[in-house]
Amino acid sequence: MTPAVLEIDASPTTVRLLDAGPLTDAHAEAWEKFQSLPVPARTDEHWRFSSIKALDLSAYTAPQPIDDTTREELLARSTGLAASAGRMVFANDTLLRREVLADTLRQRGVLWLPLDEAMRNHGDLFRSRFMREDAILGGAKFAALHASQARAGTFLYVPRGVEIDLPIEAFHWLTGEGGSIFPHTLIVAEAQSKVTFVDYFESPESTAGFACAVNDLWLGDGAQVTYVCAQNWSGQALSVQINSTVVGRDATAKALTVNLGSRYARSESVSHLRAPGGRSDMLAVTVAEDAQEIDQRTFQIHEAPNTASDLLYKNALDDSARTVFSGLIRVSPGAHKTDAYQKVRNLLLSDEAEANSLPGLEIEADDVRCTHGATSGQIEDEELFYLLSRGIPLRESQRLIVYGFLEEVLQRLGSEPIAEKLSALLHAKFDAKH
């Protein structure tokens, strides 16, 4: 770390997060809710197998300021895709850079704004969609905290029929010891629109901070939204991410999370298939090492007939890493001809690694197709021998098999440039130790 960051640590402007209070008066209700909700307990089904102790927030401060040296360093490191439609970079919830959307898109009514500007200039539209779906997988207290603090992140509004070809990107950096940030991504895609959005969650090496992120996706009829989140906080960070996706008639949502960072990372993802013909693809790739714990909770809610959801989560675990996957498919009464699929695969690279899988089904409609399955296993000896027999050394053989295992998920995105970018992040993490 640069000395400048240490100075920030000592800054009197940083207050304890738990003493921070609401961001403005308008955030007071959320703050009260945060304070009144109980801390998670392991006896709660939504926190079963979770290391609750990891969630202690008392040591963290409110978002810390960024000095000029750090700002320049982080901007230089914010390299996304070779071609994107727009890019914003935030660090410690401060906007560092904004590469705006093309004029042609703005003329067609596309809005892409930092959160504060969205609240100021498009308040009604923004508030009509901001955190409108409850966090129902256990993280309500964190969602309330987020709502009381959210100042950074972006609001993307894509009007009816507008298709944005290139991905839009946002970087969120968490830097400085013990700081916290609250990245928010809100995407409203009106009927027949199309967009791809990539969030990069990054921290400079070994920063121990707290990130509490929310990303909500709203898909109008026939909209197509692809959302990617590269969670690459430092291995010392504590992170919580809460997602809800509402899928309209004949709309298609595709979301992929790559979990690389955090000592404890909680991810809650809910897909509401709200109107007939909707589809949601829920994808995740995790590489967990050392004593990392990646805690993933999902909910595929079929609220209308003829809807489809397809979940594929793959975890590669090494050392004494732990993962928890708890996923529920619910087919509500009347949601006939639902097609729901859920698959979790764990690849264990060490005897000490531990993968917990809790798949579940609740079916209250007829004529549905639901399948789920969770598997855990090690690299197969015969597979490994095949690579060795070609002269590929043991470590390299294991690497190839692990990458191959994870690659299937990245390919499901259907975007070569993004898959390559994510691949590079995976490789950088895995290669650092192997």
């Binding site: 021998f385 095949y386 690579l387 002269g391 590929i392 190839l400 098999i401 690659e407």
Partner: protein, 251 residues
């Protein structure tokens, strides 16, 4: 000596001894065939020489150009010049065929040296053309969803790219229709020459019509019981393995 020399080899799987004192020398430049009934230990021999950890060599030696390879790990044996064409090639999901072969070639280069990509693809495409393989096989995952014939062609492709000194082809003819057999055999024959010693393991004589061996060995119950020229294969085809077994019991 430039040869694959197997001397008094004993191999067990668990408590069961499968190879029981097998001796065989394949000089570079020659093609030898091992024929034998099911259960005679043919596949065990190839896996044991390849270094599969489940196949325990209890005594004997295997030398590659004079160097004992039994102390080496499987990957080191391969880099020393050994190649195994599998009877049942494994599927490796998510690893493209091109990257797989590339990794194998890269492993043969000195540290810090990078494989030249343009040359690699030029060579890969040329070898694929010889085996009548479509270019789509470069991007597809190794053997995943390949037909039996495509898997075997892929084995021969790898062999062509890795240029081993010695190759053991384990039941390469199994699961092949006549067209695939012709293509695969042509692929092997194209690699014949003074630089390669090959051991072709087969149950049926048919393959040896296409890959004509210099010598034929008959394996029964973990040993070589007869050795002869290519005509021995025809004799076996005609009389069956029982004739060998009977001649053994009479001795």
């Amino acid at each position: 000596m430039n040869a694959l020399e197997i001397k008094d080899l004993h191999v067990s799987i668990g408590d069961k001894e499968i190879i029981r004192g097998l001796t065989l020398t394949v000089p570079r430049g020659e093609v030898h065939a091992i024929m034998g009934p099911n259960g005679s230990g043919k596949s065990t021999l190839s896996k044991a020489i390849g270094g599969h950890p489940d196949y325990v060599v209890t005594s004997g030696t295997v030398r590659l150009d004079g160097v004992n390879i039994l102390d080496m790990a499987a990957d080191a044996r391969a880099r020393a010049g050994l190649f195994l064409a599998f009877q049942y090639p494994m599927e490796i999901p998510g690893v493209s065929n091109a990257n797989f072969i590339r990794a194998a070639l890269q492993a043969r280069l000195p540290d810090g040296e990078e494989l030249e990509a343009t040359d690699f693809y030029a060579q890969l495409y040329a070898e694929m053309d010889k085996l009548e393989m479509s270019r789509t096989f470069t991007a597809r995952s190794v053997n995943e969803g390949f037909s039996g014939g495509e898997k075997k062609r892929n084995e021969i492709l790898q062999m062509a790219m890795l240029k081993p000194k010695y190759a053991i082809l384990d039941e390469t003819d199994s699961g092949l229709d006549i067209d695939a057999l012709r293509i695969v055999s042509a692929g092997v024959n194209a690699q014949r020459g003074p630089g390669l010693g090959a051991l072709v393991i087969t149950h049926y004589q048919r393959l040896l019509d296409y890959i004509v061996p210099d010598h034929v060995h008959v394996m029964v119950e973990g040993r070589i019981v007869r050795t002869g020229g290519k005509e021995l294969a025809l004799e076996l085809e005609e009389k069956g393995y029982d004739f060998i077994k009977e001649s053994l019991t009479t001795v």
